[in-house]
Assembly symmetry: C2
Homo-oligomer: 485 residues x 2
């Protein structure tokens, strides 16, 4: 299924042009393909399997916390979307709208959901009556549409897949705690499964979700020093509850407003994964989420009627599968060994075992780590234990590498001049005191294309007696600034 | 979350008005709720959990067969939809169309997918080049939109959820075998999980899928004697391959057309499940798919500071959960015991255990089967074994009941007069010889509202020397006719 014809023989080098490298990799590794609809991608089996690894894990965590899955309509009547003014303003430029259906003009245009707050909360107003109905916690796995002018595989597409969790609570504290809990799930998933070390914290007023009181964000440091907003969780306060009339009777029979959260994790995450771990040979997948964790490459040629190495390889594969490892045996002698190896490296399979007649004779295999290309001979008897340990090491090492990238690409500067230089040359995250004024934010953006990405959780309570790096006015807290994807 | 206010106190009786009973049950049991968008439903947690039971099982079977999950865009350019004439004709009256997106009029209107043959097959033409690329087998879990004038929860809605499998094969035989394999999965799911016994076979020319060579169908006999088309699998032959140019080079380097299948199973199935098993008390769920298999109702009242029965109930729940059973402990003393029991019966939980102070003293519990209301005292030591065995029995008995319904509601008649009478009074499936002419099909439909539902697989090869019950012309095979949902 990889019959894409590419004009160039080799991948662009990641360090030469990360953007072109990225496009090459997502296409050639069989993650996505362009479709006939501008801005909408086809997610191919290798790409969708990564999304399934996200779904499997997050869904477990949500359910263990009492979140129930639901499904709300794809369509949102325009009048509902218009109810929360900030929300409408935030999303209206990106809406796709249906005016004709079933051969007739509709009484009211229907927007295709860019997110489901409005259609859900209209209904939540019925579901929530008493304090006994709270907390209400639902989630849906679905597609959403936000029309984009310029698109980029996974990172910015007009249609994407995500989960959106929505909750209602008794008070502001419970809602904020829930928003932080969801943020924690996302951080944990990135660290433990995608082997990526993000910054987590809150967004500035300008960058927060349309209609939210506060937006928590997972922010990733990309290899080019730019920021990728990788998941968000919103404390909505009572903003939507007021508009949609989400009220409950408390223990004393008094009417109270509900406090809400919403939080989402999307297929955008896969773009971040590719950008973070990949190298000039292609994709590198963390073992925990790799659809294929081990490929056993059997050396042979198609002239041989029977290759005695195959049963030996199959036996090893079965032994590994018995440990719940995801293993493929490659006996595709039609292609040259070099091309076969290149392909597995391109697809990012974490560990490769090579077995030829010589290895079999010596009762050994050669393992090659995808992330380091490190080779090792393993005796037959030690294969399973060694493979498990190597996969663990790869998972850990990738996370360590990501932590190092984050540290290396985060800088402190002493003046706005230094800030500007940093954004011109070697882009990075800049941690600096900022007065938190909109005006200053705008000036910085106009001069450097950088915006406040996140105020780290641990710095939220800071009350320093410092000065804003830009304007010199009093500044209490350090923010992370960067250019963003 | 069940704060729906209903005007009537009691459910409509199923035998009085099955249609009103059905509406009552799906709303009150928390499966669905109407939305602000006509024809689009909200699937609530109890309903979505049933869909997840479908997804979990079918997805395993697909993957074991080498089918890979993918995701294709929601939007289909009108020009692509127009490529296969029959297909367009079949779906165009039901299309929802986007003409404006991102604040601009689009160059070409985009249909929201009613099914994905056209957008997928355009791409398959690239993916399929050589015989080595075959068979190509993909599936997607997604939403589709077919605008409906009159809607009915689950059974007929403008948006619904489904899976659509699509394959390409080397020749007509392999494609037909694949279509039959998918049909087999659907039949097996209905029998083993939904405890329903369907008819399986092929559709008449009039009823087959728009663009297919042959449509296989799973057809359910509903309690009112009407038919519900419950899943379909299409042998597309080379119809789409010709239009979209899906060709491959065979072993001899000759160009050949691909042969295709598509097959889908949707949330409609949940409507069939409700209609088949439910009774005047509400839903009855087969244990294998019930989100809650056992509810332990603790008897007590809210004046008691501590109810000593609760630890006893929790201990039993833990013991059952250790056997992977899905168990809820109900200690909601705010409601009367009668109301609590009514609610669990309404939601269709297969087995209820009642425990009060008396039961605990005697070291016993009382079990009540949802399907038969049969009560039994179970000694503490035997609880787990008895519960497992009772759940098995319920699953088996429900299937047996469904088989009996199918047999009871399938009749042979000796004349078209008898056929007409059968459709007027006690509706049922009629098995009869039919000449297979379109004209005869139309006459029968006009006179009785009945259509050929399916030619059973085992009767496909029949070459009888019989006469058509309607027109008297030669007829070789027996078809099942019925009115349909």
């Amino acid at each position: 299924m990889n019959n894409q014809t590419f004009s160039k023989k080799h991948l662009t080098k990641k360090t030469d042009d990360i953007s072109e490298w990225y496009n090459d990799v997502v296409l050639r590794a069989g993650l996505v393909e362009y479709s006939d609809v501008k801005g909408c991608l086809i997610i191919k089996p290798n790409g969708y399997a990564l999304w399934e690894s996200v779904q499997k894990e997050l869904d477990l965590w949500f359910k263990a916390d009492g979140v129930k899955n639901v499904y709300f309509p794809l369509f949102i009547p325009m009048s509902l979307l218009q109810k929360e003014a900030d929300h409408l303003e935030g999303f209206s430029p990106e809406l796709a709208v249906v005016e004709y259906a079933g051969g007739e003009k509709l009484h009211e245009p229907l927007a295709i959901r860019p997110t489901s707050e409005t259609i859900m909360y209209k209904t939540f107003a019925d579901w929530v009556q008493s304090h006994r109905d709270l907390p209400l916690k639902v989630n849906q796995w679905c597609n959403v549409v936000r029309w984009e002018k310029r698109t980029y595989p996974f990172l910015r597409t007009s249609e994407f897949l995500w989960q959106e969790g929505h909750t209602v609570h008794k008070n502001a504290e419970e809602a904020d705690a829930m928003a932080q809990k969801a943020l924690g799930w996302y951080q944990k998933f990135y660290e433990e499964f995608f082997a990526m070390s993000p910054y987590v914290g809150i967004k500035s007023e300008t960058e927060k979700f349309a209609g939210a009181k506060r937006t928590y964000s997972v922010e990733l440091v990309m290899p080019d020093g730019k920021a990728l907003q990788a998941a968000t969780s919103h404390d909505l306060g009572d903003n939507f509850a007021k508009v949609f009339g989400i009220e409950y009777l408390d223990e004393n029979n008094q009417k109270q407003l509900g406090y809400q959260t919403s939080w989402g994790f999307s297929t955008r995450s896969i773009g971040g994964l590719v950008l973070t771990h990949g190298d000039d040979a292609g994709l590198i997948l963390p073992p925990k989420v790799a659809p294929t964790q081990v490929v056993i490459v059997v050396i042979g040629n198609k002239q041989d009627a029977e290759n005695p190495v195959e049963p030996f390889a199959d036996e090893i594969a079965e032994e590994l599968r018995a440990q719940d490892l995801r293993v493929i045996v490659d006996v595709n002698y039609n292609n040259s060994l070099g091309r076969r190896i290149n392909n597995w490296e391109l697809e990012g399979v974490p560990l490769r075992l090579e077995i030829g007649a010589k290895e079999m004779e010596q009762n050994q295999v050669t393992s090659v780590r995808r992330d380091t290309f490190e080779k090792q001979s393993i005796d037959r008897a030690n294969i399973t234990a060694t493979v498990i340990s190597q996969l663990d090491t790869i998972q850990t090492d990738l996370l360590e590498k990501s932590k190092k990238l984050k540290t290396d690409k985060t800088k402190n500067v002493n003046s706005f001049e230094e800030f500007k230089q940093a954004m011109d040359s070697d882009k990075s995250f800049i941690r600096m005191y900022w007065c938190e004024s909109l005006e200053c934010e705008k000036t910085i953006k106009d001069a450097t294309k950088a915006t406040p990405r996140v105020l780290e959780l641990e710095n939220m309570a800071e009350q320093a007696d410092e000065k804003c790096l830009k304007c010199g006015n009093p500044a209490q807290r350090q923010w992370l600034f960067a250019q963003s994807y």
